[in-house]
């Protein structure tokens, strides 16, 4: 479903080159639920934005659903984003001027879907996340958990092959985080491929597979000293040492 081989992402200025991703390799099979973990600045989110075709990469290869995407133009990338990928963001990213119904409608509009079909899909998605009764509410009138559910409904409405979630529970309290996580698990059980970036080891543990990223590379935890150093650092911070 998602395969990156020797992928790199370099930010260049006149004086310095910064590798956000270096020799990055990952292969996510269809129907998998993969958690991508790693310390801040490790390149998790860069990976996710490249995976979601929101950003280009510098080198290597990226196949999404069998298509090599590096040479696609803006229109083609936008079409793939619209038809194959659903995004769930930490900050929900709902459009404040649009009500719940209209927010969920956005990706369907870009697909050129007819009004009746749009309405059917929107209401089905909202029912699935338990917010059909809030269709006319505006984001500001909803709790954080409800907003994230709307964002999930928006991601699901287009029936994407791949769901990309960036810290989906990062802005939620424990109870709401649990409920959102349960929803993602349910969606995965129904066959969706999910790639979730998270800091939270507890959430990561609920995924089928964990991929660890350190310094822009996927690492094997057992062998990588940087991971052990990171664990020690986290432990120190946790115990106040």
């Amino acid at each position: 479903m998602l395969k990156m081989t020797h992928l790199s992402k370099v930010y260049r200025t006149e004086v310095v080159e910064t590798y956000a991703l270096r020799d990055f390799n990952i292969d996510v099979k269809e129907g998998e639920f993969v958690a991508v973990t790693g310390p801040s600045g490790s390149g998790k989110t860069t990976f996710l934005t490249i995976a979601g075709l929101l950003e280009t990469f510098t080198g290597g290869e990226y196949h999404l659903d069998g298509v090599e995407v590096s040479h696609l133009n803006d229109n083609a990338r936008s079409k793939i984003r619209n038809e194959k990928i659903g995004f769930i963001f930490q900050a929900f990213n709902l459009i404040p001027d649009l009500n719940v119904f209209d927010n969920v409608e956005v990706p369907l509009r870009y697909r050129g879907m007819k009004a009746a079909e749009r309405k059917k899909r929107i209401m089905e998605s909202l029912e699935r996340v338990g917010l059909a009764s809030r269709a006319k509410h505006y984001p500001a009138e909803l709790s954080g958990g409800q907003q994230q559910r709307v964002a999930i409904a928006r991601a699901l409405a287009g029936s994407p092959r791949l769901l990309l979630a960036d810290e989906p529970t990062g802005n939620l309290d424990t109870q709401m985080a649990r409920s959102v996580m349960e929803l993602l698990e349910e969606i995965h059980r129904e066959g969706a491929t999910i790639v979730m970036v998270t800091h939270d080891p507890e959430l990561a543990a609920r995924a089928q597979r964990n991929v660890h990223v350190i310094d822009g590379q996927v690492v094997d935890l057992a062998e990588d000293p940087r991971f052990h150093a990171h664990v020690a650092q986290v432990a120190d911070a946790t115990h106040g040492r």
């Binding site: 989110t45 934005t49 979601g52 929101l54 936008s78 990213n93 509009r109």
Partner: protein
């Protein structure tokens, strides 16, 4: 998607109402100033007889010589001697001399007082030449010209006043104590600018009330009600003046093709050469033949203040649009997060262009509606700046309404190109990361 983007545009008008109001006002005032001054410019630079403007020619003959002419340009009017000479030569398909006269009409109804009429003495060819429309009857023919006939063509307004709008052809009308037979009643005819006599009217005046035969007017010694210019003393009495080199008549010819016009110009040069040989002109032939548009331009019929005010208003519109660029930029860039989300959900750059340009178009439409209201007020108030005879020609008709809205929308959409380009450059990844 147009309907969706238009709907988003309408919704965005309500967002940031102060910013929206500033933009709508900037566009509204800018467009209104431009359209008001354009209404005046359009009226003054109008082609008054578009179907024939390239076939009608004003004639100029230099009968004063280089000492009394400016920049070698022959005078705009002709002397009686030249009028008679050209009419006798009859070289054009149609031709007429004309001059304004100011007779009084004495109504048969004793309850009505005599009144002055805005009149011209012309030859019968003038009616088909100038495409003068008739409600009843027609103009007169060559026989009436030759016979100095007491005939007349009156305007509809005069017919309404004297005959209650009935068909008055064949009836008589008393002008300056003499009876004239009415041959025709003109339908509404008021070409603006008054191309046939900008010399005496500056191009803008009331419609003509009455036409009488040129030959009849001369026989009755009707002096001109317009300009009479002499380069030397014309002597005493009517006949001395008539046969002097004083200039006071306009002369028009009709030529249906370029070849005919060229042929007429050659005959005009031939006439002037003949006058030189006869010793009347002591200079080489100096003649001009200008069609209607060239004639109006030569006579500088479009008031200079009309051009200047239009340029100033367009500059004002430009300033308003520059402000609008800034305001739109602020408005669009405040929505970088929304743009990032839309891009993530599948909007291509082209779709972002579409959304924001249409949104700008709705702002322009709102500005256009305000501009329309202000243009209406401007057209009413234009007489404070321009000559009332010019100002009254400026009207808010359907074409100006359409143009006002079109200019507002197009100008705003053009002003939105840069802000929209900036909006489309928003990097969704960065935007979403920063959120």
């Amino acid at each position: 998607m147009f309907a969706y983007y238009f709907q988003l545009g309408l919704r965005s008008l309500r967002r940031n109402p102060i910013l929206t109001a500033l933009m709508v006002m900037a566009i509204g005032f800018g467009v209104a100033a431009s359209m008001t001054t354009y209404a005046v410019f359009r009226a003054t630079s109008n082609n008054p007889i578009p179907e024939k403007s390239s076939q009608l020619f004003a004639v100029q003959i230099d009968n004063w010589g280089p000492e009394d002419t400016k920049n070698g340009e022959p005078s705009s009017s002709l002397s009686y001697t030249d009028v008679i000479g050209l009419m006798a030569a009859h070289k054009a398909r149609r031709q007429t001399a004309m001059y304004p006269v100011g007779p009084s009409v004495i109504p048969a109804d004793a309850h009505l007082l005599p009144f002055n009429v805005n009149s011209y003495a012309v030859y019968g060819d003038a009616f088909p030449m100038f495409d003068i429309p008739f409600l009843y009857g027609s103009g007169w023919g060559a026989a009436e010209d030759d016979g100095h006939a007491a005939v007349v063509v009156i305007a509809r307004a005069i017919n309404d006043k004297l005959f209650n709008g009935a068909n008055s052809v064949g009836r008589e009308i008393n002008i300056d104590g003499r009876n004239y037979r009415i041959t025709g009643v003109m339908d509404s005819w008021n070409p603006q600018p008054l191309f046939f006599d900008p010399v005496n009217t500056s191009g803008f005046d009331d419609p003509v009330d009455l036409f009488i035969p040129f030959t009849r007017a001369i026989e009755l010694k009707m002096g001109t009600a317009g300009n009479n210019n002499c380069n030397k003393n014309s002597g005493d009495g009517w006949d001395a003046w008539l046969h002097s080199e004083c200039i006071w008549a306009q002369y028009w010819v009709e030529a249906s093709s370029k070849a005919d016009a060229d042929a007429y110009l050659r005959s005009l040069q031939g006439y002037a050469a003949e006058q030189q040989r006869a010793g009347r002109f002591r200079w080489p032939p100096n003649v001009r033949l200008r069609n209607v548009q060239e004639w109006l331009e030569f006579q500088k019929v479009v008031p200079p203040e009309s051009k200047i005010s239009l340029l100033v208003a367009l500059a004002f519109l430009l300033i308003c649009l520059v402000n609008t660029v800034g305001l739109l930029l602020a408005k669009f860039m405040r929505r970088a997060a929304e743009i990032g989300v839309r891009r993530a959900l599948g909007a291509s750059r082209r779709e972002i262009y579409g959304q924001f340009l249409i949104e700008a178009g709705t702002v322009g439409l709102a500005g256009g509606l305000l501009g329309l209201l202000l243009t209406g007020l401007g057209v009413v108030g234009v007489s404070w700046v321009f000559d009332p005879k010019v100002a009254r020609l400026a009207t808010l008709d359907a074409s100006l309404v359409a143009l006002t809205l079109l200019v507002a929308v197009l100008a705003t959409v053009m002003a939105a190109f840069y802000p929209t380009w900036r909006a489309a450059q928003v990097q969704p990844a960065w935007q979403l990361k920063s959120n």
